[in-house]
Amino acid sequence: MHVGVIMNLQISQCRYVGAMVPPAGKSSFDETSIVVTDGNGTYLRVDAYVSDSVTGEAMTYDEWQLLVGDGQATQIGFDDVKIQTGTVLWALRWNFEDRDSALDDLRCSGALIAPVNAHAVPESAHSNVLALVIRPVAISLRDKWKERALSNAEQHATLGRWESATAACEQGFALATELDARTLGLLILSYEHQGRLQRAKGYLEVAERSKGTAFREEVQSHCDRWGRMFSPETTTTTRTPGLARSSWKTEHKCHLEDSQRALAA
C-alpha cells in the first residue's frame, strides 16, 4: 500500500486501536485523530467522518507498528470502545492547569466515550491524561477552558505575575481551536513582559505568515490593548500616547466582563 492512500471504512466495521498524538509535547493540550482498523489488516488514520463512515490515510499493520515504535503514534488501550462519529483524542498534559476541574467537566458533558486514561511521561513523575471524546459535543468545553485560562492570565498579569500569566496564556493558546488574534495578542504581551522579545516578535511574524497582514495588525492591536490595561505607565507613551489612566481601567473592566460572559456561555 502506497503511503498517503485515502480510504473509507464503515464506522460499524471499525475498531479503535490508537491515535497519532505523541505522549510527549510541550503544549498543555493537544487534539489528534484516532487510528482504527477493519480487522482485516487495514489501518486508517481518521481525518474525517462522513455520514456512517470514516475517511483517512490507510496503512498496513507494519506501518502502524512502525509509527508506534518510533513514538509518532500511541497505542492506548481503551477497552470496548465503540467508535462514534466525531471521535478524536484529547491530551491534557501534566502542565494543564485546573486539569481535575476540566476532567470533571468532561465527565459531566457526555462527550467521553471511554474512561480517561493516565499515561506516564517517561523519566518524570508526571502523567498526561488522554481522553477519547466526541468532538462536536466536547468542543464547547475547549472554548470554556480557553476563556478560563485567559481570565487567569489576566488576573496574574494584573498583579504583575508575568510568569504565571504566560503559562496560563500558553494554555489558552493551546486550547484555541485556531489562531485567534485576542489570544495571540495576550500571549505576545506576556512574552514581552518576560523579556522573551524574540519570541514575541516571532509570533507576530507567525500571525502574518499564517493569516496575512490584516491579521497581524489585529493581533498587534489586541496586544496594544492588553498592554494598556496592564502597564499603563509605560504603554501610554510607548504604545498609545495620551491614553488616560481612567481609559485603561475602563477598558480592563470591559475586558473582564467579556471574559465572564464567554465563561458563562
Binding site: H2, V3, P23, L67, Q72, Q198, S210
Partner: protein
C-alpha cells in the same frame, strides 16, 4: 561515483523536448516563466511529529537537519554515505504535520545531489511507462543515469519544468496524484499516479543548519498551532500555521514565485 554533468542531463532532456513539435512549442512558450519559478523553488522536508526524540523536535532543538547514514542499497552502491531528503518545490512526501522549507540556494551551499523522481520509490512504486516493474539493474541504471549535482538543480529545473508543463507553476500546484502535461522524460511512472514519479528529489549529504544566521531556513509550517510551542525562541519567527501542510507549502511558493 560522481553525479553526471549538467550538460549531459540537459542534453537528454532537450532530445525529448525536440521529439514532438507540440512539446517544443510548449517548451519555448513556458521557458521564461519556468526560469523565474525554478530560481525560487525551495527545498521541502516534510516530517512527522513524534515524541521528544522525534526527528522534528530534535531538528529544531539542534537547529540542524542531520543526514541519516541508513541509505538505500542504490545509494550505497553509488557511494553515498548519508543523506537528508527533500523534494524541490513541493511537499511530495504525503505524511507529516510539519514541513521545513529551505531557500533554494541551500542546494548550492551544501554537498547535495538531485534526481527527477523519488529515489525511494525506485524499488517499489515506480515502473516503466510500458507497465513493467524495474528489476535491480534497471533501478541502478535509473539511479545513476539521472543523478545530478545539487549545485545544478535550479538550472536543471528551469528546463525540466518547461519541458513537462504548459504552465510551469503547475509543477507546484499539482496535488499528491497527477501527471505532468507531457510524459516524464525519464520514462518512469507511478503505479498509482503519485507525483513522486516526476517530482525532483534533493539529497543533502551533510548537515544543513537551521540556525537563522545560516540563511537556509525559510519557513517551518505546522499543521496545528500547538506545535509552535516546540520551536525555540530564535526560530519562532519562521513559524507558519496551515491546516493542510502541503497547501501551506504551495501558498508559500506561489507567493515567492509569482
Amino acid at each position: 561515483m560522481p553525479p553526471r554533468k549538467l550538460t549531459e542531463l540537459l542534453g537528454e532532456l532537450q532530445n525529448v523536448i525536440a521529439s514532438t513539435t507540440e512539446r517544443q512549442d510548449c517548451y519555448a512558450a513556458g521557458q521564461a516563466m519556468s526560469s523565474r519559478i525554478a530560481a525560487c523553488l525551495p527545498l521541502v522536508r516534510r516530517l512527522k511529529v513524534g515524541g521528544v526524540a522525534s526527528p522534528w523536535q530534535a531538528s529544531v532543538q539542534s537547529r540542524a537537519l542531520e543526514p541519516k547514514s541508513l541509505c538505500t542499497v542504490l545509494e550505497e552502491r553509488a557511494g553515498i554515505d548519508a543523506s537528508v531528503y527533500f523534494f524541490l518545490g513541493c511537499a511530495a512526501y504525503p505524511r507529516g504535520d510539519v514541513a521545513i522549507v529551505l531557500h533554494s540556494r541551500t542546494a548550492q551551499s551544501v554537498a547535495s545531489s538531485f534526481w527527477p523522481f523519488d529515489t525511494g520509490s525506485l524499488g517499489s512504486h515506480l515502473q516503466s511507462t510500458n507497465g513493467s516493474a524495474l528489476d535491480s539493474d534497471a533501478q541502478d541504471e535509473a539511479f545513476r543515469k539521472y543523478w545530478g549535482s545539487g549545485a545544478d538543480v535550479s538550472q536543471f529545473a528551469e528546463v525540466f519544468l518547461a519541458a513537462h508543463f504548459a504552465v510551469p507553476i503547475q509543477y507546484v500546484r499539482c496535488g499528491q496524484t497527477g501527471s505532468p502535461d507531457f510524459p516524464a522524460y525519464h520514462g518512469l511512472m507511478s503505479r498509482d499516479n503519485d507525483r513522486r514519479a516526476w517530482t525532483v528529489e534533493v539529497q543533502a549529504h551533510e548537515v544543513v543548519s537551521l540556525a537563522k544566521e545560516s540563511g537556509h531556513l525559510k519557513t517551518i509550517i505546522v499543521q496545528r498551532h500547538q506545535l509552535l510551542d516546540e520551536l525555540p525562541d530564535d526560530l519562532s519567527e519562521f513559524g507558519k500555521v496551515a491546516n493542510d501542510v502541503a497547501a501551506g507549502v504551495r501558498e508559500e511558493i506561489e507567493q515567492l514565485c509569482m
